[in-house]
């Protein structure tokens, strides 16, 4: 009797929960598959990077790294690699500083003031989106030769800043818009002038967001290939160096180089993950 009740009672709900369970199972399968789709290729690059040069060209592959540092050593001791790494960092840091120094004031102005020409400026910023910006490097290369900026980290950083500015303006605009004007006004009534109020009240609040958009600018520059290849000859960045040597370099050099590009990017994306959606949510309008 008790057994009959036990089977009969959950009978009806079970049909529903079975469907639910099957659906849940399918759902988690798809989550796992999607994660694998993203992670497995990165894992395979890591396997190649952590294998000796001989293993990289060997066949068939096991898919398990031997943790041999041969490829990485070869990459780091290869002529020009360290300089390219240094140039990449230098250009990216310059881009980061420039895009914040130029973009943040504009973002602040857009969030705090109503003035004639505001719509025009926003249009200019949005227009940059419809343009294939790396192509700018072609005429700029000539401009740089004339003013002596050709083949310099500063020159390339200026072009990368053009790529990063639309983002830094829109992101800082959204960050400043999130700080109530009343906070600033309160500081003014307490005797601060505009600059002091900004420094003491607004700046501490927006600093994390500004940092995130700076890191974003860094990754834009770090990852950029076309303009870097056009504008640098002797002072190549890592992307330009790898692109130029793709057809001639051995496989293990390419994979170790790819890993050198990927690792910092992974760290940076991790650092700004909280802001990713706020950034793009705003970049929508």
């Amino acid at each position: 009797m008790t057994a009959a009740v036990a089977t009969a009672a959950p009978d009806k709900p079970r049909a529903v929960s079975d469907i639910g369970r099957a659906g849940k199972f399918l759902f988690w399968i798809s989550v796992v598959l999607l994660c694998a789709w993203v992670l497995v290729p990165i894992y395979l690059l890591a396997v190649n990077t952590l294998s000796s040069p001989a293993e990289v060209t060997a066949f068939p592959k096991t898919g398990v790294p031997s943790f041999d540092m041969g490829s990485i050593q070869f990459f780091l001791s290869f002529q020009g690699v360290l300089k390219a790494l240094w140039n990449s960092v230098l250009v990216a840091v310059l881009t980061m500083a420039l895009s914040i120094a130029i973009g943040a004031p504009a973002g602040y102005a857009l969030s705090r003031f109503e003035f004639p020409g505001k719509a025009t400026f926003r249009l200019l910023v949005l227009m940059t989106r419809a343009f294939p910006l790396p192509l700018l490097a072609l005429p700029i290369a000539v401009m740089f030769i004339r003013i002596g900026l050709d083949d310099t980290p500063v020159g390339l950083a200026l072009v990368h800043t053009t790529l990063a500015i639309p983002f830094s303006v829109l992101i800082t605009f959204s960050i400043f818009s999130g700080i109530p004007l009343e906070l600033e006004e309160a500081a003014w009534t307490l005797g601060c002038n505009r600059l002091q109020a900004f420094q003491k009240v607004v700046l501490p609040l927006v600093l994390p967001g500004i940092t995130a958009s700076a890191i974003f600018a860094f990754t834009i520059s770090w990852n950029e290939v076309f303009a870097a290849s056009v504008l640098t000859v002797q002072n190549r960045t890592l992307t330009a160096f790898l692109l130029q040597s793709l057809s001639v370099s051995p496989l293990h050099l390419r994979f170790a180089g790819g890993a050198a590009l990927v690792v910092p990017a992974l760290i940076f994306i991790f650092a700004v993950r909280k802001y990713m959606f706020a950034m793009w949510g705003i970049a929508n309008r």
Binding site: F121, A130, T219, L261, G281, N284
Partner: protein, 281 residues
């Protein structure tokens, strides 16, 4: 400093910067493409279109974009739906999904090279499973369509994340009540997706499509990493004319072609996916 001049002072650096490094170079490109010795000419466009490589290059780029972008939209919608249903581990899964967003296209090309090269992981797997006897040359000129497939996979892998991020932030703006109302009227999950999610996501879908299509026309490093010059695309040919063939005018003409199809695509998406007046949330 009064608040009349302050906004202009704050905007001045960005405006001057964009004028010098955005507006001026584009005028230069147009000038280079349309003039010779100071006079107007279409000669550079004729040189460009007369080269046997132009039309294959053009169609390769268009077809790549036409395959990659719609697939990305579908995949990103699926990923966004998955994310929307998640409770536990949502942030971790979201971070994993967005990883490729931070990677260079060159890095993505190299990553997929590790899979597709002759001694790569795909061949290793196929031989290991006994499907083939010896490794196939996937990325050779004999199998152009295989390079195409590899590039499509690499692009799907790399750039779907950005579409997903835009769609997820768009979905966050859809009020819950809409779904509840649809549920009250008996709409199932699929119907809710088609009748509520998709129409409400229209502005986000529009942004995502515009961004991705323009980026797809600029595909470059992925193709070079996987196929060298075997599969020519517009950006690669621009580079080629600038450096290998040393003709800056034809390179500028190529640049204008990329610009023209980018603007055309933008206008199409703006028109087709426009939000009806008064239909915003």
């Amino acid at each position: 400093m009064n608040s009349k001049t302050l906004p202009y002072l704050l905007l001045a650096p960005a405006t001057i910067f964009l004028a010098v490094f955005f507006v001026w170079p584009f005028l230069q490109i147009a000038w280079l493409a349309f003039t010779t010795g100071g006079g107007f000419t279409l000669q550079h466009f004729q040189t460009m279109a007369g080269n046997w490589k132009f039309w294959p290059t053009f169609w390769n780029t268009i077809i790549l974009a036409a395959i990659v972008v719609p697939l990305q939209l579908i995949m990103a919608l699926a990923m966004a739906q998955v994310v929307a249903k998640l409770q536990a581990g949502r942030n971790t899964i979201l971070y994993i999904f967005t990883i490729p967003l931070g990677l260079s296209d060159l890095a993505a090309g190299i990553i997929w090279l590790a899979i597709f090269e002759q001694s790569g992981f795909l061949n290793s797997m196929l031989v290991g499973l006994g499907i083939i006897d010896r490794p196939i040359l996937f990325l050779g000129y004999q199998n152009l369509w295989l390079i195409f497939v590899a590039v499509i996979l690499a692009e799907l892998w790399r750039a779907t994340a950005i579409v997903m991020v835009i769609l997820v932030s768009g979905m966050g703006l859809i009020p819950r009540e809409y779904y509840e109302a649809a549920e009250v009227f008996g709409a199932g999950p699929w119907k809710r997706f088609v009748k509520v999610t998709l129409p409400m996501l229209r502005p986000s879908i529009q942004t995502a499509l515009i961004l991705r299509t323009i980026a797809a026309f600029e595909v470059f490093a992925v193709v070079v990493a996987l196929g060298g010059t075997t599969l020519p695309v517009l950006m690669g040919e621009t580079f080629n004319w600038q450096f290998t063939l040393q003709d800056r005018n034809v390179a500028a003409a190529y640049a204008l072609v990329i610009l023209a199809i980018s603007i055309a695509a933008t206008l199409v998406f703006l028109r087709v996916l426009r939000t009806p007046k008064g239909a915003t949330i």
